[in-house]
């Protein structure tokens, strides 16, 4: 298929059901192209059996489909081995897995866990709970009002007690890209493990875990064209090897007696119970779609649309964009407020015009407290949006205050 076709909304069946919908809530979840839906469908029609279990042809097929997805993920993020790719339900589960499994073994009383203040609750609550259980301390890395973190601030925040630093590669509120490689080097000099939340970055920019050097990376399939209920945890093999299992049950054991068990090898040690093979197949189809399109085309298109939206928003009085002043630093995420209008009312006005945006605290309440706002509205785009979506967005944005009863 040509790039132009792959970029088009026409590959996304949801727009057949909702032809007039301008879907601008891609950071929450992306729509699914036909190729992904068909791949999941094909798996259940032609290859379904319980993977990793049965000694018959269909089960072998199911196993191949499931493990083939793991190989695709390995290649997609540049991991060294399939053993480093753990399938989970979503990025939240991936982060919880680290907190429960790595955290319980490695965090002790008085240790410090450093968390970037803009983190999504998914990359904050597991650490808060862990710290409470272990008597450890949570500390925050502060950013500027426009969402910028500096290497200097990180160096200052790290202490000999800092065992872990949790940070998103792209914040789901600011959309700004953090210098993860630099952060990793600084953390490693301090013997601090770095956990990177890639939920908002992996769908939009090329991510190479070896180049970044991070110890862990978490992301979700559903934010990158794939199905819901499917997530990935990347971890360095030497770390994963030493970690105890997260959940227990079928498929994660080697040998079980009445007294105990020995656990399966990586990655299956962390995948208890029947796995989400359909989800894995869908994730692989999503990766294939992204690879065929290429990140160069995705980034170019998303940058173009972000710029168009940003410039339109800038012209409207009373609209305040959160974060950087350069649209290039937003990666398709434009969080904003309108003076005098509550974000839920903003979203409702957009909804009445068939435009989907998000309003609220975007699961980042500490950040909103830091910014001094209770909630914000957010439009987030993807490559399959088009100029018309953006023009409609800007035009409705310009009408919100009038619709809310403000004169002029």
């Amino acid at each position: 298929m040509m790039n132009k076709e792959l970029l088009s909304k026409q590959n996304f069946p949801v727009f057949d059901a909702y032809p007039g919908l301008a879907y601008l809530d891609n950071s929450a979840t992306q729509q699914k192209p036909r190729q992904v839906i068909e791949a999941v469908n094909r798996y259940y029609c032609e290859e379904n059996a319980n993977p990793l279990r049965g000694l018959y042809e269909l089960s072998v097929k199911a196993t191949d489909a499931y493990e083939g997805a793991r190989t695709a993920v390995k290649g997609f993020i540049g991991a060294k081995s399939e053993k480093e790719i753990i399938f989970t339900r979503n990025a939240s589960e991936s982060l919880n897995l680290i907190a429960y499994s790595w955290g319980r073994e490695n965090i002790k009383a008085d240790d410090e866990i450093l968390v970037a203040v803009s983190e999504h609750h998914s990359d904050l609550l597991p650490w808060q709970i862990l710290a409470k259980q272990k008597g450890a301390v949570i500390r925050y890395l502060e950013c500027s009002q426009s969402g910028e973190y500096t290497a200097q601030a990180l160096r200052k925040a790290l202490t000999p007690k800092t065992k872990l630093f949790a940070v998103a590669q792209i914040s789901n509120v600011f959309g700004r890209l953090n210098p993860i490689k630099e952060f990793t080097d600084i953390c490693h000099e301090n013997k601090t493990v770095i956990v990177c939340d890639g939920a908002q970055s992996v769908p939009h920019i090329p991510v190479d875990v070896q180049e970044l050097g991070v110890d862990f990376l978490a992301f979700s399939a559903h934010k990158m064209l794939g199905p819901m209920g499917m997530g990935v945890l990347y971890g360095k093999e030497e770390l994963l090897e030493k970690m105890p299992p997260f959940l227990s049950g079928g498929e994660m054991i080697e040998y079980v007696t009445r007294e105990g068990a020995t656990y399966a090898e990586l990655p299956h040690k962390f995948e208890a119970g029947t796995v989400n093979a359909g989800g894995a197949v869908g994730l692989k189809a999503a990766i294939d779609y992204i690879n065929e399109l290429g990140f160069e085309a995705i980034e170019r298109r998303e940058d173009e649309l972000t710029k168009l939206a940003f410039e339109g928003m800038k012209k409207i009085p009373y609209v305040n964009i959160i974060g950087a002043d350069d649209p290039h630093d937003h990666h398709g995420i434009l969080t904003f407020t309108i003076e005098g209008v509550h974000p839920h009312d903003i979203a409702a006005v957009f909804d009445s015009e068939n435009i989907a945006i998000r309003a609220g605290h975007h699961c980042a309440q500490p950040l909103h407290q830091f910014l001094g706002v209770q909630s914000t509205a957010r439009m987030s785009l993807a490559f399959y949006n088009d100029e018309k979506d953006i023009e409609r967005f800007v035009s409705v944005l310009g009408s919100v205050r009038r619709k809310m009863g403000y004169g002029g």
């Binding site: 839920h344 609220g360 209770q374 619709k403 809310m404 009863g405």
Partner: protein
Amino acid sequence: MADNFYGEVLTDHNLHPQHKHELDCATCSQHGVNPSCGDDIVLNLEVRNGIIENGSFTGSGCAISQASADIMLDLIIGKTPEEAEHYKELFMKMISGGITDEELEELEEASALQSISKMPARVKCAALGWRTLETLLNFKEVKNEDINKG
């Protein structure tokens, strides 16, 4: 998709609320929140001799939550707690979509929020003031004894 339900009644009560202020003579106050969306109000009432003599609210939230609280106070000031309870029941009936035309008329300006019944995500915004009122009055007690602390 919603129709534009931000009519004049709603936007006017939101932008120019009559009852959004502190109330020094309040005999009872109650905090009400919608944790998921951050609507946050404090409802104050002055109840004397079985009559809601005065009322106010403070706080922040979306237009629907704020306007609905203001409209509610218009309705219940000067009424007995029993009458307020009756309005509350009518209002809840309206936003769950099961009200008759006669009942709707009783709600006066509050009937402007009827279309919320088609917006499940916003029902809790419209109901915040009324739910706070319900907690505050704890109707059964108020019916039996005067609140006269102030």
